[in-house]
Amino acid sequence: MFNYDKHNDIPEAILLALYQKLLYIRLVSEAIREDSLNLKLKCPVHFSLGQEAVSAGAGLNLRKDDCITITYRSHAPYLAKGGSLKEMIAELYNKKGGCVGGIGGSMHLSSPGNNIFCTAIASGGIPIAVGLAFAAQMQKKESVVVAFFGDGAADQGTLHESLNFASLKKLPVIFLCENNLYAVEASVEDTKANTEIYKMAITYNIPAVRIDGNNILDVYQKTKKAVEKARQNQGPTFIEALTYRWLEHVGPHYEHNLSYRSEEEVEEWIRKCPLKNYEFYLLGKRLLNETLIMEMKNNINQQIQEAWTYMENSPYPTMEGIK
C-alpha cells in the first residue's frame, strides 16, 4: 500500500525506533480509549488513532532542546517528543502528579521541561512557535521549533500572519499541518477555497510540500530535512501531512452512524493504518519478527501499567498554591 522502499538509506536502528514509537503511541491510545469507553475516564479526549505516524515520524528528529507547540489532539506529539507517560495519564485523570498538576486534562498536555507547549485553541500555538524560534535566533541557539496544527487551524488568520513573520525573519520553525480532512465535522472541501493547504505557505516564499502522513518514512525523511535546514539557519518549512482520524472529533467512538462521512471512507482509511502497514513492511524485510513484536508490546504494556499505578496513587490537587 505504501512505498517504503524508496527510503532505503534509513539505518535499520532508526527503522526499528520508528516502529517502536508508533507502537507505543498506539498501545497507549488504546489503553486510554478503553477507560474512556467504560467511563472510568471522564475527560474529553481527542484521540489521534490512525494519524500517529505524523507525530512519531517527526518526533524522532527532535532533540530535547527543540520545542513543539501542540493542540488539543495532543497525545501523539506529546509522547513522540518524550513527554512522560506517567504524568500524561495522571493529567488525564486530573491528578496532582499530572504534567501540569492535574488542572488541565487531555487538552493541556504541556511539559515545559521537555519543551512541549500545548494549547486547546486551534491555531493558538502557531505564533507562539514562531516566537520560540525568534528567541532561538536572537539567542543564537541551534534549537528548532515544530508547530503542530490541523487543517481547521489553517483557516485562521494567525497562520498567515505567522507564516509571513517566520519567512520574513527566516526563523527556525517547521509548520507541520496534520490534515485529517475534517475540522470537527466540516470537511476541507466545505471549508477551503483551496484544499491544498501547503500552497498557502508558497505565497509567503516558504518551501512547502504535501506528503502522505500515514507513511512514517515519508514523514521522517521530510521532517528530517526540514529540521536540518532550520538548524542551519536556512529558514522555515511547511509540511502538509495527509492523514485521517478514525474516531469521532472528541471521544472514543467510531462514528459510522453519522452523516458527515461514510463508513466506506473510514474503512478505507483504516486499511491505510500507519502501524499495520509499516509492521508488514518490516516483517517482510525480516527486521521484525513476532517474538520481537511481543517483546516490545510487553515492555510498553509494563510502562502503561506503571503509569496507571502512578496515577492511582497521586492525589487530586487543591486550589492551594494555584494562582
Binding site: 520545542c67 504534567c99 493541556h108 504541556s110 493558538g124
Partner: protein, 359 residues
Amino acid sequence: MKHKSKNNNATRNISYSEAINEAIFQLMEQDSSVFVMGLGVDGSGAVFSTTAKVAREFPERVIGIPLAENSLTGVALGAAVAGMRPIFTHQRMDFLLIAMDQIVNHLAKWEFMMAGKSNAPLTIRAIVGRAVGGGWGQASQHAQSLQVLFSHIPGLNVVMPYSAYDAKGLLISCVRSNHPVFFIEHRSIHKEEGAVPVEMFEVPIGKAKKIKNGKDITLVGLSAMNIEVKKAVEELEKLGVDAEWIDLRSVKPWDKEMIFSSVEKTRRLVIVSTDHKSFGVSAEIICSIAEEMPRTMKSVKRISLPDSPVPAGPAIEKEYYPNFVDVINATVDALGLESPFKREDIFATEKEQIFKDVF
C-alpha cells in the same frame, strides 16, 4: 566600565516620554534579553520619541513588525517563554483588541497552564490617545482606555503611571517582573515633566502613591486624570477643603491597604478614572470598600467617562471628558458645600494645541 554617577540619588527634571526612553535604554543596556517590538518602534516618530534612543543604540533589538497584533503577541509570548524579555509597544491601545486571543487565552493563562514550570515575562506598552481640547480629536477607535478589560482577566497585571518618576520606575519593574504586565500610558501626559533619578530604580507594582495628605476627603486619580485632580486640590485648598490625593498607579493589583486606610480617616471618596463609568475601576474599589468595611462611608462618587464611545470634535470632547471642575463639584457636594465653579467657565481659557503635540 561605564562611568557611574557618584550620587545615586541624583535627579533632574525630564518628561514622561523621556523617562520611558531612559528606562528602556537602561534595561536594554543591562540585560541583553530585553528587546522592543512594535509598529513604528524603529520609525521616524519612534512612538512619540519613547524608543528613539534604543533604536539608535541597539538597532538589532528594536524590531519593527508587520500589522498583525494577534500573532505578534503570540510571537512575543513565545520569545518570553524562551527566556527573552520583550517590550511589545502599541501606539494606540485600541489595537490590542485584535490580539485578545493571544492575550486572554494564552498570555494570561500561560503560567497557570504550565503549572508554574514556565512563565511569560512580557511587558505590553499601550498608549491611550486623547485630544486635549482645540481639535485633533482621536475619536472612538483611537482613544479608548481599556484597562478594565485586561484587569478582569486572572493572570494579567495592569499599571498606569501618571508621573515621569513612576513611568521610569514602574516600567523597570514591569520588564523585570516574571509575569505579564500591561504598562498603559496616556498620550496627554507624555510631555509632563517631573524629577526623575538618573540611575535605575523600581516602583513596586500594586502600590498607590499618596501625593498629598488631607483629612476631609480622599481623591483617587488614575493616569492623566491626576492632572484634573491636581488642579482641583489646589482650588479646594483655597476653599478651605483639605483633600487627600492618591495616585492609584496600579490598577491590577490595586493598593487596597492605602485606599482603605485613607477612607477610614476621611469617610468620603471621589475616584477619577479614565475608563467608562459602568463596571469600571471605581466600581471595583467602591464595591470592595462596601464589602470589606461596611458603614464606613458617608459619600462615594465616580468621575469617569460616560457610557458612550469617544466622540471627536472640539466642543463635544469638552462635554465628554471630565475635568477639574467636575472633581471640585463632586467634592464640595460630598461635603455639603456650595461650588463657586461652573463646568463651562474653564473652557475659554484653554490654549490651542498643535497636531504633533497630541497625535
